[in-house]
């Protein structure tokens, strides 16, 4: 099975709030020193899903990513996990929040790659949390899509996809080519082996420019303007409930809870 996986490099989502700061004039996050970007954790699960299918059926996994060609961490990690080939499409000028421009460029890259059975991506990127790229790509490519998958099975060339929703479980069946976005219920993404890392370091990553994919991004980009980006503090002042022992303190807390409950 020919599988294309879209991966994105993001600011480490586990970055402590103290290290998170925003350039208010440029409306963007200031990359913290000593914290390199990481592969979007949901995309790592998409790579994992691709590897599970390849282990069962064989085939090839191509990783594609938009971004600064000098920053290869995410695609190198995907190669180290076991992906076969990788392409970075230079996209410095894209606005972070422009899901249409990104989906457009990724779709163009998919078309340039040509034959594929399945496109996988993470359910959302852990920076802008839009969760739209996969669905918009499916529209631009005219292929069926199932989002936020928990499990993908391939039987006789057909895909059976299970997904978890807010109030239940759903199972879908669809043919190929198709696009599936993957959610955290997929399980754990594998950690690259030492051998995988060595092999990945030797691999050539193809570098494409927007000219390689067709320079017509203006058709879809720039529908919304970012007016402002600001840090949002969720912090509150915590009143610690004290007591001689837990029983006493918990008794006081019970009174506070009862009070709030009455309001």
């Amino acid at each position: 099975m020919e599988i294309i996986v879209c991966v994105k490099q993001v600011l480490d989502p586990d970055l402590p709030p103290m290290k998170f700061s925003i350039d208010l004039r440029k409306n963007c996050v200031i990359p913290p020193e000593g914290m390199p970007p990481v592969m979007n954790p949901y995309d790592a699960l998409a790579v994992e899903a691709a590897l599970r299918i390849k282990e069962q059926l064989g085939g090839k996994i191509t990783v594609i990513s938009l971004g600064d060609p000098s920053k290869e961490e995410a695609v190198r990690k995907a190669l180290a996990m076991g992906a076969d080939e990788a392409v970075i499409i230079s996209a410095d000028s894209l606005d972070e929040y422009d899901g249409f421009a990104k989906a457009w460029l990724l779709s163009k890259a998919v078309k340039k790659i040509g034959a594929y059975d399945l496109i996988l991506c993470g359910r959302q990127a852990a920076d802008w949390d839009l969760g739209v790229t996969g669905s918009i790509m499916a529209e631009y490519l005219g292929v069926p899509v199932v989002t936020r998958a928990k499990m993908i099975e391939v039987v006789d060339g057909k895909l059976t996809v299970e997904r978890v929703t807010g109030n239940g479980n759903e199972t879908y069946q669809l043919g190929t080519p198709a696009l599936i976005s993957v959610s955290s219920e997929m399980g754990q993404a594998r950690i690259p082996s030492g051998w995988g890392i060595i092999a990945a370091a030797k691999k050539q990553i193809s570098q494409w420019t927007q000219a390689d994919t067709g320079n017509d991004i203006g058709k879809v980009s720039g529908r919304n303007d970012l007016l402002r980006l600001y840090a949002s503090s969720q912090e509150r002042v915590c009143a610690f409930i004290e007591g001689e022992n837990t029983i006493e303190a918990a008794t006081r807390l019970a009174e506070i809870i009862a009070d709030i409950g009455k309001r």
Binding site: P17, A103, R123, V145, N224, L226, Y230, C238, I247, I260
Partner: protein
């Protein structure tokens, strides 16, 4: 319908065959926006059967109700719903299309926006209108809630927004309010066959739904197992509360997935949120930071949860919860 500026709300129906509370919130929010430009609020209801609920919406601030009734439609069929909703958008020509940040909204909003060449903002916590610029301004959390982004709609373009639950205020029902019901012919409804639904299990939650609860008692990895959650359920029962969880108990299969609160689970904003054995990872906090008051119980005095809580108790939950259950139980009696 002329040049009047219109807002179209994509409605969702719950298992009790009523508009969901989120849809009612959207209608309240849409009415407030529409008053600023003397526009109208329209509602689209896509249903396989009962159309009566459409009338109920008129008293809640709707001017035109579009009803698409087709026996083959289910809300799991994203492709068909995308086509139908896009078609109605072309017919109604709204300036703004609102829907909930639900499983359905997450799926149809980007696809409709791609088809209709519309602007798109996901998971908005606020939508306002700027008359000077004649544009909609949306606020949404990013970076797992560490930042807020404010985005403007483009001139003369349809703007599609999904809205987070509890961000807008529903209107009370105004009896006798006038509105128009428009049946959309289902001739063009072509049920998609490329993606076949094999199974659609709905979990019937016991007790109060997380989305509707005024009080939520939630547990994290610190509970150590299913037994801890039994204790939480006892407390929830006394408080008339719903029970939620963080990622760890879900991943460990102590509790089912639909109980998850956080970035990949449900976003809740009850009046009172009691966090037990929860460390306070950003991905969880983003799901509950809109709560009125947050009470945290954790053994570790340095746990991040205390930074976002109003009241904290540093204690082993196994010692603290029985006391809470006993004392609060007395008060209820």
């Amino acid at each position: 319908m002329g040049t009047e500026k219109r807002i179209l709300v994509i409605g969702e129906i719950d298992h009790g065959n009523k508009l969901t509370s989120l849809t009612q919130e959207l209608l309240g929010g849409a009415r407030k926006l529409a008053e600023q430009f003397a526009g109208s609020v329209d509602l689209l209801v896509i249903t396989a059967g009962n159309q009566e609920l459409a009338w109920d919406s008129i008293c809640r601030g709707v001017d035109h109700v579009y009803v698409v009734a087709h026996p083959g439609i289910t809300l799991c069929d994203v492709e068909t719903i995308t086509s139908v909703a896009s078609e109605v958008c072309k017919q109604a020509q709204p300036a703004l299309c609102l829907m909930g940040q639900t499983d359905l909204g997450r799926d149809i909003a980007p696809r409709m926006a791609a088809r209709l060449e519309a602007g798109l903002c996901m998971d908005c916590t606020d939508v306002s209108y700027e008359p000077e610029q004649d544009r909609f301004v949306q606020t949404r959390p990013t970076y797992g809630g560490k930042a807020m982004a404010v985005l403007a709609s483009g001139p003369g373009k349809l703007q599609i927004d999904t809205v987070r639950a509890k961000s807008m205020t529903p209107l009370d029902c105004e009896q006798g309010r006038a509105g128009e019901k428009i049946f959309v012919s289902d001739d063009h409804v072509q049920v998609d066959t490329k993606v076949k639904l094999l199974n659609c299990e709905r979990i019937h939650e016991e007790g109060i739904r997380l989305e509707d609860a005024k009080i939520i008692v939630a547990g994290g990895g610190g509970l150590g197992g299913q037994q801890g959650f039994q204790m939480l359920r006892d407390l929830a029962h006394i408080l008339n509360a719903a029970v939620g969880a963080t990622r760890v108990p879900v991943d460990e299969k102590w509790v089912p997935h639909h109980m998850e609160i956080g970035q990949t689970g449900k976003i809740v904003s009850p009046d009172l949120y009691v966090a037990v054995g929860i460390s306070g990872a950003t991905q969880h906090i983003t799901g509950c930071s809109g709560s009125g008051k947050i009470v945290a119980i954790n053994k570790d005095p340095d746990a991040n949860i205390f930074r976002v809580a109003d009241y904290g108790l540093v204690a082993d939950y196994k010692e603290a919860l029985p006391v809470l259950i006993e004392k609060l139980g007395e008060k209820v009696r």
